[in-house]
């Protein structure tokens, strides 16, 4: 397991791409602690009450709302993960990532530079994206390890990581083997995570739990802990391909696992909800939950990302409303 010092050089080189890295120690992983894993509980009804009442307990208005929405844009992993992706499509997406908001709106907000957190693509599109984002500071994330099902041969899944890193991906979104969670084989999940992490080298690794397929919130809590023990830099809800993707209850469980992990190890792990977050209002709720449960520090791209494709469009319209006072239309904002 590479620690920060071991991989210092490689990491430093990659960090050039990652303006968001703010000098937190990278997660070196730890021994699998089954006592801790098995003690994790998640009471679904209580968790749902917490998330259901949160939007009534927190609110951001006017300039604060605009700022929070700008913040949300900076946290988006602008994503395309479709079978019909082409280099042209990916270049368009990257152009949007470089300039997600119309320049006149940005100026009206008193800002000069804004990019999304990253661009997220399949392996085949990594070189195109890297090329298109050169000089922008926007990293490329590649989904990997037989995404989305994670059932291709294990050796191929490891090799896929290596190739994506080779191709210039600074972040690798791996998918875990859901069967290890569903059969309670935590050791296998842990071993898999460690190998994925090692294969990533200096690239940051986001562990996709596919929470919609894990059966219970308690499994989500336990899988979160095991992946963090195994060295994940981020834990992420979903591939976007499950029937249920990111939800607030799942997010609360994963954030609490992150908080507990930090309390025990001092290591801050990132969080990425993905799939189904498509409105500015949703995004604000997620950010409020994040601030409440994990604190201000997590509201930065090195510790939080939205995996989203259509969210940006809604935020752009809300920002224009903030600037002009008139409700906006989608065609007034450039396509990705």
């Amino acid at each position: 397991m590479p620690t920060k010092s071991e991989s210092g050089t490689a990491l430093a080189r990659k960090e050039a791409h990652l303006p968001q890295i703010r000098g937190e120690a990278r997660n070196p992983g730890m021994e699998l602690d089954m006592d801790w894993v098995m003690r994790a509980q998640a009471n679904t009804s209580a968790i749902e009450r917490r998330t259901a009442t949160l939007p009534g307990r927190r609110s951001v208005k006017k300039a604060y709302q605009a700022a929070w929405l700008v913040k949300a844009i900076s946290l988006i992993d602008l994503t395309t993960l479709s079978g019909d992706d082409t280099p042209g499509r990916v270049r368009r997406l990257c152009a949007k990532a470089r300039q997600p908001v119309r320049a006149d709106l940005l100026a009206a907000l008193g800002l000069d530079r804004l990019t999304t957190g990253a661009v997220c693509v399949y392996h085949e599109m990594v070189p195109t994206a890297v090329e298109a984002l050169k000089g922008s500071g926007v990293p490329v994330a590649a989904v990997s390890t037989g995404f989305p099902a994670g059932l291709s041969p294990f050796a191929l899944r490891l090799a896929e990581i290596g190739q994506s890193v080779q191709a210039g991906a600074a972040e690798i979104d791996i998918v875990i083997s859901r069967r290890h969670v569903l059969t309670g084989n935590w050791q296998a999940l842990y071993d898999e995570m460690r190998e994925f992490r090692a294969a990533c080298g200096a690239a940051h690794v986001k562990a996709i739990l596919a929470t919609g397929e894990l059966g219970s919130l308690r499994n989500v809590a336990r899988a979160s802990l095991v992946c963090m023990m195994g060295g994940a830099d981020f834990i992420k809800t979903s591939t976007g391909k499950e029937s249920v993707n990111a939800t607030l209850p799942v997010s609360l469980v994963m954030m609490r696992a992150i908080r507990e992990f930090e309390a025990r190890t001092g290591i801050k792990i990132g969080y990425k909800p993905a799939g189904g977050i498509s409105t500015a209002k949703d995004a604000l709720t997620y950010l409020m939950l994040l601030k409440e449960e994990l604190g201000r520090r997590w509201l930065e791209p090195d510790l939080f990302r939205f995996g989203a494709s259509s969210l940006l469009g809604d935020i752009e319209r809300q920002l224009e409303h903030h600037v002009t006072g008139a409700y906006s239309a989608s065609y007034r904002h450039p396509l990705a």
Binding site: Q41, A42, N43, T44, S45, A46, I47, E48, R49, R50, T53, G56, R57, R58, S59, V60, K61, K62, A63, Y64, A66, A67, W68, V70, K71, L109, G110, L111, G215, S216, L217, R218, R256, A263, M288, K291, E292, R296, L299
Partner: protein, 776 residues
């Protein structure tokens, strides 16, 4: 603040709810209110100011109800009530429905007004108080609709005087007014002096809803106005507030014949077991003790954490407290608002400053604005013996202690004079469902806290009061039996003749029956029992308070009876009937000898019949699952009251004894029976039947003697949970006044020709609502 600055700080920023509409409503009323009597507002009179506790701003001047005001309101209510009841359920339902709709239509006006008057965060008044109030009127619109069909043997009480507290002004109004008027009563309601404004706005809503004049009357004022209302010629007093005032009302209404329900204070335990979802349990505490600044009668104010996880849990809790936002109640981003009044603030401060003792105080580093603000407070390391673990603070102050085992958790949880609510957290269904019934509380929340709904009963045991609000059980507080049985008439024992002679030359000594054993009276005195013909039928012990003490002690030890199955209790009651039947002729002869009548045989038959009835009920007084708007169960369980002292009717010495014993014992209570003073020997013969019928020791105890003295002894005893007076009404005042000591329940009634079951079963049980939300 520029966008750039905010991007650095990522603060929430101000999110104020506008108070403009409310201010203009107040201006429209010239910021001066009279009372709402007979459908109109009276001219503002002498009174007091209502201020916003968050900033001290004057909201309005409100009138102090004089005796004349109370008289006028009660007279208006009295005049309106018969017509209102005669309207019929459907017509009343329409009015309640209109009230529900109007509360919704004016929901923001009510919410903002409530927050301005009370200091609670707008989030709570907007999302909790007002929607629950509207829900209460919807629910009881349905109850009005169903009354004739479902409650054909119930009738309204008449005029109800209702006194409510300042912590949930409109919600408590709804809890009081909705069931009362649904059942055909009229009301005179007095809101708390700190928070009268939403009640006055409600008066205006009543006009819009077509509530007939006089059905709802609102009088404002302080405690003196409340006292006048309690003393007024009303048929019922319903009070929610402090235990001290509840106790005073209990004394004041003693013997008046006014029905009474009290919803009082609490020091509710919040138990966290080691297998709980600790983060959720921490979050639950936010809703338990920092909801409404902790000014909640059922606040989970006493934290009990299993020892092995206590440090970790407290760490998590302190971190959560750091994230609580305190400030302007009208801000939509505020968790903790203002306490209701400077007086309350001073009380809370004094509790913490003087009472923390060896405890460690934690308060987050939060700026306190000017106004009635107090920081969220946690005091760890306290023991049950500490004052703050016992006394209700009624503020945002949580006290904490630890326990080792589930049994110890129950023991500590129940080590309190209160018994309103309890919360427990565990992921183990066996543990949760084992502990919930053992907690002395009217409401238990499993893995949740402070859940309320109109369909689920709410109310306490012990010094948290009696009566339930919500659900079918709540209607008992606003109805009476349509044909109330006449009270027993006094009967003096027959006097000694000039030349006495014993009935049987072989002396048979009638004893008391305590703890399954025949017991001689402590006093060493006995009284001769004469037949009307002057025959000496026997002697009966003159019981005193020591005999009562012994009997209650025996009943206390027989607590296992309350955990037996209904089937077992049924079997034993049938067996008592069987054994009584075998000696029917003897009992009939004894009754006839004592009374000089010929009804003995019929009375024995009736007693056997009644034993069968309650044997039947023992396993059939079902609980209910309430249809609350929640994925989960709200289970209403009929639990025994505990130890019941019963004063039996003077006439019908056997049937009267059975009328008290059978329903009480069938429901799992233990009883101390004081038999007919005039004709006691049926009861003393009866213990031989009990002895042969497998009744466990201490379940039924019989103490003979002077009913007035023994009734007072029972009513004074702090380990007796209820006193039933089936005897003469002249004992009621003594019993009810003495009952104020531990606020035990009382039930004063006649038994009629055939004692009715339902009333007795209700008197013999406490409805405990256990909320169990679930989900994976």
């Amino acid at each position: 603040m520029t966008i750039r600055d905010i991007l650095e700080s990522m603060e929430y920023g101000p999110a104020p709810e506008s108070g403009a509409e409310v201010q203009s409503w107040l201006d429209g009323r010239a910021r001066a209110f009279g009372h709402f009597i007979a459908g109109t507002f009276t001219a503002p009179g002498e009174g007091f100011e209502s201020r916003n506790p968050a900033n001290g701003a004057l909201l309005a001047r409100v009138s102090q109800a004089s005796q004349a005001d109370i008289d006028a309101a009660v007279a208006a209510a009295r005049a309106a009530q018969p017509g209102w009841a005669a309207l019929g359920g459907h017509r009343r339902a329409r009015v309640l429905y209109a009230l529900a709709r109007l509360l919704q239509k004016h929901s923001r006006l009510f919410a903002v007004l409530e927050t301005l008057d009370n200091g609670k965060p707008i989030r709570e008044s907007r999302d909790i108080d007002i929607p629950l109030a509207a829900r209460h009127f919807y629910y009881h619109a349905g109850m009005a609709q169903l009354m004739e069909e479902e409650l054909p043997d119930r009738a309204p009480l008449g005029v109800c005087g209702q006194i409510i507290p300042w912590n949930f002004p409109l919600l408590m109004l709804a809890w009081k007014i909705a069931p009362a008027i649904a059942m055909g009563n009229s009301v005179v309601l007095k809101p708390a002096e700190y928070t009268p404004l939403t009640a006055l706005l409600f008066g205006q809503i009543c006009q819009e809803a077509g509530v007939p004049a006089g059905v709802v009357n609102i009088v404002t004022g302080d405690g003196a106005a409340g006292e006048r209302l309690v003393a007024a010629p009303v048929d019922k007093i319903a009070f929610t507030g402090s235990t001290a005032v509840g106790r005073a009302i209990r004394k004041a209404t003693a013997g008046s014949g006014k029905a009474l329900t009290l919803e009082l204070g609490g020091k509710s335990p919040y138990i966290v077991f080691e297998d709980a979802d600790l983060d959720s349990a921490v979050e639950g505490l936010v809703d338990a003790i920092w909801f409404n600044q902790g000014q909640v009668c059922c606040a989970g104010s006493r934290l009990l954490v299993q020892e092995g996880i206590a440090d970790r849990f407290h760490d998590k809790l302190r971190a959560r407290m750091d994230a609580l936002r305190l400030g302007d109640p009208l801000d939509k981003c505020i968790d903790v608002g203002a306490l209701v009044d400077p007086v309350q603030l001073a009380t809370v401060k004094r509790f913490v400053d003087e009472g923390a003792g060896a405890g460690e105080i934690y308060q987050p580093d939060v700026a306190l604005p000017e106004g009635c603000f107090y920081p969220p407070t946690l005091i760890t390391g306290l023991a049950p013996a500490d004052r703050l673990m016992q006394e209700e603070i009624f503020g945002p102050v949580l006290v904490s202690t630890t326990f080792r085992t589930p049994a110890e958790a129950v023991q500590i949880a129940n080590d309190t004079r209160y018994g309103l609510a309890a919360t427990l957290w565990s992921e183990n269904i066996n543990l949760a469902l084992d502990v919930a019934p053992k907690l002395a509380a009217g409401v238990v929340w499993v893995n949740a806290t402070n859940l309320f709904d109109a369909a689920a009963g709410f109310g306490g045991v012990r010094e948290s009061g009696f009566g339930r609000e919500g659900g079918w059980e709540g209607l008992l507080a606003y109805t009476r039996s349509a044909e109330a049985p006449a009270r027993a008439r006094p009967l003096a024992p027959f006097a000694a003749p000039e030349a006495p002679a014993p009935d049987d030359p072989l002396d048979r000594t009638a004893k008391m029956y305590v703890g399954g054993k025949q017991a001689r009276p402590d006093s060493g005195y006995s009284r001769a029992v004469w037949s009307p013909a002057g025959v000496l039928l026997g002697h009966v012990g003159s019981g005193n308070r020591k005999d009562i003490r012994n009997a209650v002690e025996a009943a206390h030890k027989a607590a296992g009876w309350s955990r037996t199955t209904g089937h077992l209790r049924a079997q034993i009651l049938f067996y008592i009937a069987e054994n009584l039947s075998a000696r029917a002729a003897e009992f009939a002869a004894r009754i006839d000898a004592m009374t000089g009548g010929s009804g003995g045989a019929g009375e024995v038959e009736a007693a056997i019949d009644l034993l069968f009835t309650h044997a039947a009920w023992a396993d059939k007084h079902d609980g209910a699952v309430k249809p609350v708007p929640l994925r989960g169960l709200a289970v209403a369980v009929n639990e025994p009251v505990g130890i019941i002292g019963a004063i039996c009717p003077p006439d019908r010495p056997l049937l009267g004894l059975v009328a008290a014993m059978a329903p009480a014992v069938a429901m799992g209570n233990r009883v101390v029976l004081v038999p007919s003073e005039a004709f006691p020997l049926a009861a003393t013969d009866f213990y031989q039947v009990l002895e042969t019928s497998d009744v466990p020791a201490g379940v039924v105890n019989i103490v003979t003697g002077a009913q007035d003295a023994l009734a007072a002894d029972l009513a004074t005893h702090l380990n007796v949970d209820a006193v039933w007076n089936l005897s003469t009404g002249d004992l009621d005042a003594t019993i009810e006044r003495a009952a104020a000591g531990n606020l035990k329940r009382t039930w004063c009634t006649g038994i009629g020709d055939t004692p009715a079951s339902r009333e007795a079963l209700a008197a013999a049980t406490e409805v405990k609502t256990i909320w169990v939300p679930y989900g994976v």
